[in-house]
């Protein structure tokens, strides 16, 4: 695995996560293979319960995979100890959880939140970090750097949360639903900030979203369904992804017409595959 100057690559192989609810085991992620290049911007799309937030948590070291492997940069993080994961989040991976308020100390200003986040960076690395006001200024938040957090709008809080997440100049920024509950201007501001982070710092950006427009804005989308990667989109064009077991997710409109259990005939013609429903 290689990295650019700032961005970190991400690679998942056969990633599985199972958690227990009561007496039931739930498979949240089942055999995900994913490759994100350094400096790339990726949106994880999919319906609720499709496993995208769980995948993001595994990339951030918050949740351990039940099976499979996951690399961030050159480090396989699935087998990391808690201490190593903390170190990972301290200086290599920035994480924004769903809900801006949860990511900020409400009683501290944005700049103080940045200072708080930078306390986790190794001492020798702190001098290389952008000072809080400089960082916030670079991200267009200089005007509110010393304002009380509760007085900020939802969009501003979300942008501050993203700024805090990149306070330690991580190579990978993970954000869960950074644009939810925001109006369009606020959403665009958040996306602009993500662009800035990606452009200026070269940071790899992976976000979870429900919003296809947001996905389109990031350039690459990974759509998850039932814990699997079903589709990928590049520059607006959608591609089904062939799984290791040879499975392919059909588009929703096809599934609507061909319900589960429908038998199809697969016909190959060069680079093309044709599916023909069995006539009964």
């Amino acid at each position: 695995m290689t990295t650019t100057a700032n961005g970190l690559a991400v690679r998942c192989e056969e990633l599985v996560h199972i958690y227990r609810t009561g007496e039931t085991d739930v498979v949240a992620v089942r055999g995900v293979d994913l490759l994100v290049a350094p400096g790339e911007r990726v949106a994880l799309l999919g319906p609720s319960g499709s496993g995208k937030s769980t995948l993001l948590a595994m990339l951030g070291g918050l949740v351990s995979p039940s099976a499979g492997r996951v690399w961030v940069g050159d480090d396989e993080i699935g087998g990391m100890s808690e201490r190593e994961r903390l170190r990972l989040r301290a200086n290599r991976v920035g994480l924004v959880l769903q809900g801006a308020a949860r990511n900020l100390l409400q009683y501290a200003t944005p700049s103080q939140n940045v200072v708080f986040a930078q306390r986790s960076a190794p001492r020798d690395a702190r001098s290389r970090l952008l000072p809080p006001h400089e960082l916030l200024g670079a991200l267009g938040l200089g005007a509110i750097a010393d304002s009380p957090v509760p007085g900020l709008s939802g969009g501003e809080q979300q942008r501050v949360a993203l700024a805090v997440a990149v306070a330690n100049a991580p190579g990978l920024l993970l954000a869960d639903e950074p644009t939810s509950q925001l109006d369009h201007p606020a959403r665009d501001s958040v996306l602009d900030l993500l662009d800035t982070v990606n452009d200026q710092f070269g940071t790899t950006v992976v976000i979870v979203t429900h919003d296809p427009e947001v996905g389109a804005r990031l350039g690459r989308t990974v759509t998850m369904r039932y814990g699997r990667v079903g589709q990928e989109g590049h520059q607006g064009e959608q591609f089904a992804v062939v799984g290791k077991d040879g499975s392919v997710h059909l588009p929703d409109e096809v599934v609507a017409e061909w319900p589960p259990g429908t038998q199809v005939v697969v016909e190959r013609d060069g680079d093309e595959l044709r599916l023909r429903r069995r006539q009964t």
Partner: protein, 1024 residues
């Protein structure tokens, strides 16, 4: 610094809960510090009180030397040697400069050929200084050959100014002769100048004849220096109670031990002197009281620290719990465990750090107020190592509580932690172990108490019992609540359902039950214990003092006392005469029994009788009224002598108004009719009572059997006819027939009519033939102290030691606790005790007991007596309340107040901290349309259930603890009085009502605040 700033911002952000936690932490710290602070003050007060109230001779250092045996030295050399010994600089920190006196005891004072009396002659350094003694006439004795006598001596003995007296202290007549130059008031002598001896030394002779002991003859120093008698030089250094503190005791003990040590190997370089002191014994006697305070202080401090720690754990852990999201944020940012822990601890530690000095300051202020209000003036309020230790334990407890709470947050994965899952089984196991430990300790404490122990574990028992009850209760409460959930699920009472559901889920609020159980139990135990102990102290005071108020007076005789009190209070309802004799056999108290039932503070029931019965019991009616004689007696006696009988001496016995008996002889009674007269000097100024007529064999005449008959008639005194037959035939009896050793009726009244008394005499050799007026019982009716051994008189009666120090026949009417003497000694009626005296009286303490309603007129009339000192039930109760056990119980009372404040404070803080988390749940219910009033009712009901449960369990635990512990704490009183062990329902119920009202108010405030904060908008912050 940035961390502190951030923590301060966080505290400001959570202003409500921060203030609540800070307030509870401050109270907890103050409570933990107050116990040892007050204990140190109480111990200091005990020391100072004992120093201030003990007689100077008990705590002072007496240095003395005698010229006897070392006549090679002069009185001046002896004086200087004693002064040098007394001026030991090691004693200076606590002792006043010494007095100095040169005295010669028991000089026979004569005025020319007239014997004036026996007296001590003495010179006291500073005797002529202002305030040393009041000179009522003339001037002070300064020069050699000058003397002062007391105004009492001057008046009673007729010593005019200018009289020349021989002191009887020197064989050199010049040195022995003094001129009276002044009279002094014997009651005004300053003890600082006079040292050990008061000049008021008057004591009447025990029998008629010998001279009285006079007050001191105060002479000039030169007179004492010139005498060649047995001069003693005496110096007393009094303890200065204002300068003695608890911390001084080791050095004080060492200094006194060194000062009074006798070195047999030391070679004297001048007159031999020695120093003695009762200080060491005094300190040894004080130690048990100090120990009782120390043990109670440990128990109270331990319980308060336990309570404080519990409270701090509760609120600090809750605060940390509330900050779980922020601590998770630190982990999200990748902070190391150490940094995250520091971040998590910063806020609570800051609060607790502030609470330590503020709590200490509050405790110090409270202790200052308590000390000023209840303890001896000048008692030190000092911060001892135990105070520091208590605060340190609390501080560490609070920090460890925060650390434990933070640790559980640290160890959980961020997302799991946000879901608040896991660890329940481990917590349950841990809490079960704590429960079992508390129950085991409580059982051990109860066992100790049942074994009669009163050590630390036994004193901790109340707290342990309460803790065990509380911990077990929170196991049961959720189960009961689940039953209630099932019952209310389908009912219309949503509030009840919600409240019982929250209780059933065993939220952190259940810990409030444990806290309240502990707090209320301590409060109930303390209030019950204090009330019970106060009531018992009141009984002890009433028994110790006897009357509601007691005047100690100086009178010449018990008869005078009886007459003076009768004159001052003819009604017999306001004042009572009593005397106490320390006769070496437990003592004798003789009080006017006819008034005891009406005005004694002592309860006759303590001696097995009653107020109604005691008068008749100790003062039963007699066959005869006293026969009163005024002046000399004359009578006609017709004596018919049996053939061969020898002559007989005829005498009469009277008792003077003072109570002293007086015998006078008519002379040899001759056969036939003759008139006899006898001078009775004691009866000339004040009336006497006729006691006996006796016929005895004259000395020198050989013993033989005699007999005959005597007819007495025409009896008269200075006021006229005395009718001997007025008392009837039964009003006379033979003294012999009353003898415990039997004997025949040597003299017997066989006829009594029309003023003619006929006596038959038939006596064996040596026996006296005596008849007496039956105006007093043959055997003195007495009550005996329950520990007083019965003295067998060898016959039908027991014997007791009378007012004269001799044996008197006694009839024991009951046993129990007596006034003043408690379980020792004997109690009798005063007039009968006087009548039972055959000679003069032992030294007596003359007392007048006053009822609480004694009128100013009666007090004014009694004020004419020479009142030496007064005491009362109230002052004795105050004194007892300053004793070690009482101070120990006051500590428990203090603990109760702190516990209650902590309990209420924590309940309120809980509303701000713990319940706040429930605001999200309530917000969801409101979003679903639940009525706000229903939610308030639900929250209030839940809090009230918790408060009520804690209060009731605490009340039960407190009463159970009191039932076990009070007997060990207060049951070991030496008075022997029946000990009341409660429960003191009235104050306990009043306390519980106050507590309940306070808790309901607090619960209401908490419920309203919680629901007010539970707005649906809150839910927007909670998105998973």
């Amino acid at each position: 610094m940035e961390s502190v700033r951030l923590a301060l911002r966080g505290l400001r952000w959570r202003t409500g809960s921060s203030i609540a936690v800070l307030a509870v932490a401050i109270v907890a710290m103050a409570g933990a510090a107050l116990g040892p602070l007050y204990a140190a003050s109480a111990a200091d007060s005990l020391v100072r009180d004992s120093m201030a109230t003990s007689p100077a001779v008990g705590t002072g250092v007496v240095s003395r030397g005698n010229i006897a045996g070392q006549t090679q030295y002069s009185p001046a050399e002896l004086r200087d040697a004693v002064a040098q010994r007394a001026a030991d600089p090691a004693l200076d920190p606590w002792y006043l400069p010494g007095s100095m006196a040169l005295v010669v005891h028991d000089g026979t004072i004569t005025d020319g050929s007239r014997l004036v009396g026996v007296a001590q002659a003495g010179w006291h350094r500073g005797q002529c200084d202002a305030g040393a003694v009041t000179i009522v006439q003339g001037h002070c004795a300064v020069e050699g050959g000058e003397a002062m006598v007391s105004q009492r001596t001057a008046k009673d003995m007729g010593v005019p100014l200018g009289s020349v007296l021989r002191l009887g202290i020197s064989s050199d007549s010049k040195a022995d002769t003094v001129t009276v130059v002044g009279y002094y008031d014997q009651a005004s002598a300053d003890p600082v100048v006079w040292g050990l001896d008061s000049p008021a030394q008057f004591a009447p002779a025990r029998i008629e004849g010998p001279p009285d002991r006079l007050d001191e003859i105060v002479v000039g120093e030169q007179t004492m220096l010139d005498t060649n008698g047995d001069v003693a030089a005496v110096s007393l250094r009094r303890i200065d109670a204002a300068r003695v503190h608890l911390a001084d005791l080791p050095q004080l003990r060492a200094a006194v031990t060194a000062a009074t040590a006798i070195d047999p190997s030391a070679v004297p370089t001048g007159p031999r002197t020695l120093s003695i002191s009762g200080m060491i014994e005094h300190l040894d006697g004080l130690q048990p009281q100090l120990d009782s305070v120390a043990v109670a202080a440990f128990a109270v401090t331990a319980q308060l620290v336990l309570l404080a720690w519990f409270v701090l754990f509760l609120v600090v852990a809750a605060t940390s719990d509330e900050r779980a999201g922020e601590i998770a944020l630190a982990k999200l940012r990748g902070m190391s465990r150490r940094s995250t822990l520091a971040f998590g601890l910063a806020e609570p530690v800051l609060l607790v750090l502030v609470a330590v000095p503020v709590g200490l300051l509050i405790a110090w202020a409270a202790d200052t107020v308590l000390t000023h209000s209840y303890l001896v003036a000048g008692t030190a309020v000092s911060i001892t190592w135990t105070v520091v230790l208590a605060l340190a334990v609390c501080f560490l407890g609070a920090v460890s509580a925060a650390a434990l709470a933070a640790r559980s947050i640290l160890s959980a994965p961020v997302l799991e932690q946000l879901r608040r899952t896991g660890g329940r089984r481990a917590r349950l196991a841990r809490s079960s172990a704590i429960d079992a430990g508390a129950v085991a300790l409580a059982a051990a404490g109860i066992y100790e108490l049942k074994q009669g122990g009163s050590d630390a574990l036994a004193l901790l028992a109340p707290g342990l019992i309460a803790l065990a009850v509380g911990l077990l209760a929170v196991r049961l409460l959720p189960a009961l609540a689940r039953v209630e959930v099932a019952r209310t699920r389908a009912s219309a009472s949503v509030a009840s359902f919600l409240a019982s559901r929250n209780v059933a889920r065993r939220p952190g609020g259940l810990r409030i039950v444990v806290l309240l159980t502990l707090a209320v139990a301590l409060a109930v135990f303390a209030v019950d214990g204090w009330t019970v102990a106060a009531a018992n102290r009141g009984d002890v005071a009433r028994a110790q003092v006897g009357g509601s108020e007691v005047l100690h007076v100086r009178v010449a005789s018990p008869g005078e006392l009886l007459a003076a009190v009768d004159a001052a209070d003819p009604s017999g309802t306001q004042a009572l005469a009593a005397v106490v004799s320390d006769n070496g056999t437990g003592g004798l108290i003789a009080a006017d029994a006819t008034r005891l039932g009406v005005l004694s503070a002592w309860d006759p029931a303590w001696a097995g009788t009653s107020r109604e019965a005691i008068g008749a019991l100790l003062h039963p009616p007699q066959p005869a009224k006293p026969l009163v004689i005024h002046g000399d007696l004359t009578l006609t006696a017709e004596f018919t002598r049996t053939q061969g009988s020898t002559p007989l001496t005829f005498s009469v016995g009277v008792r003077s108004a003072s109570g002293l008996p007086y015998q006078a002889k008519f002379g040899i009674i001759t056969p036939g009719t003759a008139t006899y007269s006898v001078p009775l000097p004691p009866c000339r100024e004040t009336a006497c009572t006729l006691m006996t007529f006796a016929w005895t064999q004259p000395v020198g005449i050989p013993a033989s059997v005699i007999g005959g008959k005597v007819v007495l008639r025409d009896v008269s005194d200075a006021k006229g006819v005395v009718d001997l037959t007025s008392v009837g035939l039964t009003g006379w009896r033979s003294v012999d027939s009353a003898s415990p050793v039997g004997g025949g009726d040597a003299a017997k009244v066989v006829g009594s009519s029309d003023g003619v008394l006929t006596v038959s005499i038939a006596k064996a050799p040596i026996d006296d033939a005596t008849i007496e007026v039956a105006d007093h019982p043959i055997a003195l009716p007495v009550l005996q102290g329950s520990n007083q051994p019965v003295q067998d008189g060898g016959g039908v009666y027991a014997v007791t030691t009378g007012l004269d120090g001799g044996f008197a026949r006694a009839k024991i009417e009951g046993t129990g606790v007596l006034p003043r003497l408690l379980q020792q000694g004997t109690m009798a009626d005063l007039s009968y005790a006087i009548a039972a005296s055959g000679t003069g009286f032992d030294p007596l303490d003359f007392e007048v007991w006053l009822s609480p309603t004694a009128s100013p007129e009666v007090r004014a009339a009694l004020g004419k007596l020479d009142v030496v000192s007064t005491e009362s039930v109230a002052t004795t109760e105050e004194s007892l309340a300053r004793s070690g056990p009482a101070l120990a119980l006051r500590l428990f009372l203090l603990a109760a107040v702190v516990a209650l404040v902590l309990g209420a404070g924590t309940l309120l803080a809980n509303a701000y901290v713990v319940i706040r988390r429930r605001a999200y749940e309530l917000a969801a219910l409101r979003a679903l349309g639940a009525d706000r009033r229903v939610l308030v009712r639900s929250a209030r009901r839940e809090q009230v259930v918790l408060a009520l449960t804690g209060t009731l369990l605490g009340a039960v635990a407190g009463l159970v603890a009191a039932g076990f512990a009070l007997e060990a704490l207060i049951g070991a009183d030496a008075s022997g009085l029946p000990v009341w062990l409660g429960p003191a329902w009235t104050p306990v119920v009043a306390l519980l009502l106050v507590v309940l009202v306070a808790l309901v108010v607090v619960a209401d405030i908490g419920a309203r605040r919680t629901v007010r904060g539970a707005v649906p908008e809150l839910l927007r912050q909670v998105q998973e």
